[in-house]
């Protein structure tokens, strides 16, 4: 179905055309620099690693394991780096039936695992079954809850859902859903997949060594001959490793250091993403059960100041709903909420509440969380609202403070679709509904949008959903943060992918090294 042209196909085609006509040999030097070079040993310094990491995709939650996982594994569906739409992966095509409740995927032929075993539809069925079984503790189990059955027949895989979902193929591009032989039931930590690189050595929280898979089914990827992913959790050490030439690429650059690095011989990647910071107010707990009070706080925060001072400008303004222009069907016409102390004072007075508001904060929630809270305190003061900041330890924050204190700070990573982020962050049945938002109109619109095949109608539905969340929800969303990464100038071909950080996890298989 969605076999439209994408950047990779275009690249493949133009390369093939160039080679056939002998053009590639006569291209000027500058253009030649843009053609991928093969070979070399790539070194990356990536954060988010832990000694508790394992190769079992069910357990992955950090950026480090995303990079390692996307190097050795493949998902059934991939996403286009520019549009974020579903494109073929291990499934070469798919179609839906019964109002998007039944999905039939056709498996790519001639693909083999690193151990030489041929990929079968049965491997796919078992992989999905394992991630749906609570016994295997998969981090993506919640995304698969709408699946009722998965069956295979020859090279066809049929998935039936218990509700309509036109975006369903995107769910199968989740980076935890790497297809493993036998579904990974026997040895989930084997690290055997169909991806462009094979695991040579994996030492949790230390480093991972990878070498090119000579039998890769996709010849358009995997330029470097081998790669090493070094776990560097300390931000300053990552910068030191890049500056000393010990690694070619580093993740998680702090906004404060970008200005210093800019003068050096490095490339900075400032990629707009879908991640955002929130200050959730529990709509069922006083005083936040009063919409005037919530509006007062939403108007009392100076978003631009937080964007400039906390994010160093590397991000974009939030409008109190968890979707920005990186998502398709983003409702761009909704006016941006501005800092307005007078209006904030008006709503605060109307709410009838006059005591100080307590805000629970921990520095580890996002870089600069405490600074952001202090800026908020100052801007709210001008509206006559007193905010008391209560510092909390990082350890145990997500268990003890988040969803337990009525007003705190929180942060969200990227999700594949508007539906997923709304369902997870605000959905009535979600265990991560941080504001305890339970608006029946929102819930029914969300369900309608999920099943709506007409794009224009979906756009209208998502517009209405955003308005409800923005004006009645408990989510105070000041900013969306960009992904900040850096590389030495030797590294070329990094694709800034809207899907997720680190070129949607595919940094290793997309870049190449110049001498």
């Amino acid at each position: 179905m969605p076999n439209s042209w994408n950047r990779r196909d275009f690249l493949k085609f133009s390369l093939a055309a160039g080679a056939a006509s002998g053009l590639s040999f006569t291209l000027p030097a500058t253009a030649a620099d843009n053609t991928p070079k093969k070979g070399g040993h790539l070194k990356l310094g990536i954060d988010g690693a832990a000694t508790t990491d394992v190769l079992d995709p069910a357990s992955w939650i950090s950026s480090y394991m995303m990079v390692v996982g996307c190097a050795w594994g493949d998902t059934l569906v991939r996403t286009d780096p520019v549009s974020g739409k579903a494109i073929p992966g291990l499934a070469e095509s798919w179609e839906s039936a019964d109002k998007s409740t039944r999905w039939i995927f056709t498996l790519r032929k001639g693909v083999q695992f690193h151990n030489g075993q041929a990929l079968t539809a049965e491997d796919v069925v078992k992989t999905l079954s394992r991630h749906r079984d609570p016994k295997f503790r998969s981090g993506v189990i919640a995304y698969l809850s709408s699946i009722s059955t998965v069956t295979s027949d020859g090279d066809k895989i049929t998935i039936t859902l218990n509700e309509s979902n036109v975006d369903f193929p995107l769910v199968l591009s989740l980076w935890n859903l790497q297809i493993q032989p036998g579904g990974g039931y026997e040895n989930p930590n084997a690290g055997i997949g169909t991806g462009p690189y094979r695991i040579v050595k994996f030492e949790a929280g230390v480093y991972t060594q990878l070498e090119k898979n000579p039998h890769d089914w996709d010849s358009s990827r995997g330029n470097v001959a081998s790669a090493e992913v070094i776990a560097i959790n300390d931000a300053s050490s990552r910068v030191a490793a890049l500056s000393t030439g010990k690694v070619h690429f580093i993740s998680g650059l702090s906004p404060k250091i970008v200005a210093l690095l800019k003068s050096g011989p490095v490339t900075i990647y400032n990629t707009p993403g879908r991640g955002h910071y929130t200050l959730p107010m529990m709509v069922n707990t006083p005083p936040f059960d009063n919409n005037d009070l919530r509006l007062a706080l939403k108007l009392a925060i100076d978003r631009q100041q937080i964007l400039d001072r906390v994010l160093g400008g590397y991000g974009s303004l939030g409008n109190d709903f968890p979707v920005n222009s990186a998502y398709p069907l983003f409702p761009a016409d909704i006016p941006q909420r501005q800092y307005d102390p007078d209006q904030a004072a008006f709503h605060f007075k109307k709410s009838g509440y006059s005591r100080p508001i307590v805000l629970d904060v921990a520095e580890g929630v996002f870089p600069g969380a405490v600074d952001a809270a202090t800026l908020f305190q100052l801007s709210a003061q001008k509206a006559g609202i007193k905010i008391d900041i209560r510092r909390q330890p990082d350890d145990g924050y997500w268990n003890n403070v988040w969803r337990n204190k009525p007003f705190c700070v929180s942060s969200w990573g990227t999700r594949l679709t508007q539906d997923l982020i709304y369902s997870l962050e605000l959905g009535p049945s979600s265990a991560s509904n941080e504001t305890h938002f339970a608006n029946p109109q929102f819930a029914s619109l969300l369900k309608l949008a999920r099943a709506e095949e007409d794009e224009a109608k979906r756009r209208t539905l998502y517009h209405d959903i955003a308005l409800i969340v923005r004006d009645e929800g408990g989510t105070l969303l000041p900013v969306f943060n960009n992904y900040l990464n850096a590389s030495s100038n030797k590294l070329q071909g990094y694709i800034e992918d809207v899907g997720n950080d680190l070129s949607n996890g595919h940094v290793i298989s997309r870049v190449w090294l110049n001498n």
Partner: protein, 332 residues
């Protein structure tokens, strides 16, 4: 109890004060370790949050959490869990890590070895310098060399370890280029490579503990040199270095050894910040990661091993002190 131990001792070590003292201390160490195990268990289980919630992240469902809790035995009463753990320890087994499903002993052993390398090298560098520095300072007490040594060690003491680390990266890696960074250590690494990788963390740690050791060596020597019998030695006209070396040093050895041992233990179990900065796979990082995800078998095993390191080093210090100073063999 005391008489029982004493009677038992007679058969193995009749009237041997040193051996008796050592066995006495060993028994105490075992009891201490058991007490520590109780404390560790209580503390770990009092931590808010649990592995089930931590490992599933933000997309956790209550059913999945309940299922994990049950499969790990977290639904059993505390006393049962403690007894099961003790039983396992007596079998010489730390169990499986909840997060990685790998045996804790293998992972811990591997990392402990790395930490021992680090601590050993740092100690080898720091101890002689600290002792000689201390002697030198006392030899020229209240004169320029002593003042300089005091000033430098005070400056180092007030610098946080991570700052020393970053400064060394700046100098040794960026400007001089003599060392490897990051300091990742892996199996099959050649000795020169290993040493080159170790250089940065070892230097940082050595500098950090050096000041502390030097100051305690200096003050221990000072308190000995102010005693009347030292005054006598001086009045006899003995050369100052001979007084320090032959008369003061053996009497000052006990407090200095204690400080060295505590610093050494700190190097083994507490070099977390250095491990993070230099990407060194030591045991400190292992425990911190385990605490973060509430991987209880790992946290408990680390706690016990850390306690054992402290207890063993203390034991060693006492024995060395007893060997150096016979008066200590007889309890007052």
């Amino acid at each position: 109890m005391k008489s029982l131990i004493a009677r038992g001792m007679r058969s193995t070590a009749p009237r041997h004060p040193l051996a008796r003292a050592i066995i006495h201390r060993l028994l105490l160490a075992v009891i201490l370790l058991w007490g520590v195990s109780l404390l560790i268990f209580a503390a770990v289980n009092a931590l808010p949050g649990d592995f089930a919630a931590a490992s599933l992240g933000r997309a956790a469902t209550p059913e999945a959490i309940a299922s994990i809790r049950q499969s790990l035995g977290l639904d059993k009463p505390l006393v049962t869990r403690y007894l099961l753990w003790m039983l396992q320890i007596f079998k010489g087994d730390f169990g499986l890590s909840w997060a990685s499903q790998q045996p804790v002993s293998a992972q811990l052993g591997h990392r402990l070895l790395n930490s021992l390398w680090l601590a050993g090298a740092a100690a080898l560098l720091a101890i002689p310098v600290a002792l000689l520095g201390g002697l030198f300072a006392v030899r020229y007490l209240h004169r320029l060399p002593d003042r300089m040594i005091t000033l430098v060690s005070l400056i180092i003491l007030s610098l946080p370890e991570f700052l020393i680390g970053y400064l060394l990266i700046q100098v040794l890696v960026l400007h001089v280029g003599v060392s490897t960074f990051p300091s990742t250590i892996y199996d099959g690494m050649s000795l020169p490579d290993r040493l080159s990788a170790l250089l940065l963390p070892v230097l940082t740690l050595a500098i950090a503990v050096l000041a502390n050791m030097l100051r305690s060596a200096r003050s221990a020597l000072m308190s000995v040199t102010s005693t009347p019998w030292m005054e006598t030695a001086r009045l006899k006209g003995l050369p100052p270095l001979r007084i320090l070396w032959r008369h003061a040093a053996p009497n000052a050895i006990s407090p200095v050894l204690t400080v060295i041992a505590m610093n050494l233990a700190g190097l083994i179990v507490g070099a977390m910040i250095i491990e993070v900065i230099f990407v060194y796979p030591g045991v400190g990082q292992y425990m911190v990661d385990a605490v973060t995800v509430r991987d209880i078998p790992v946290v408990q095993a680390c706690g016990l091993v850390f306690a054992a390191v402290y207890i063993l080093l203390n034991l060693l210090v006492d024995m060395l002190a007893m060997a150096a100073n016979p008066r200590l063999r007889f309890p007052r």
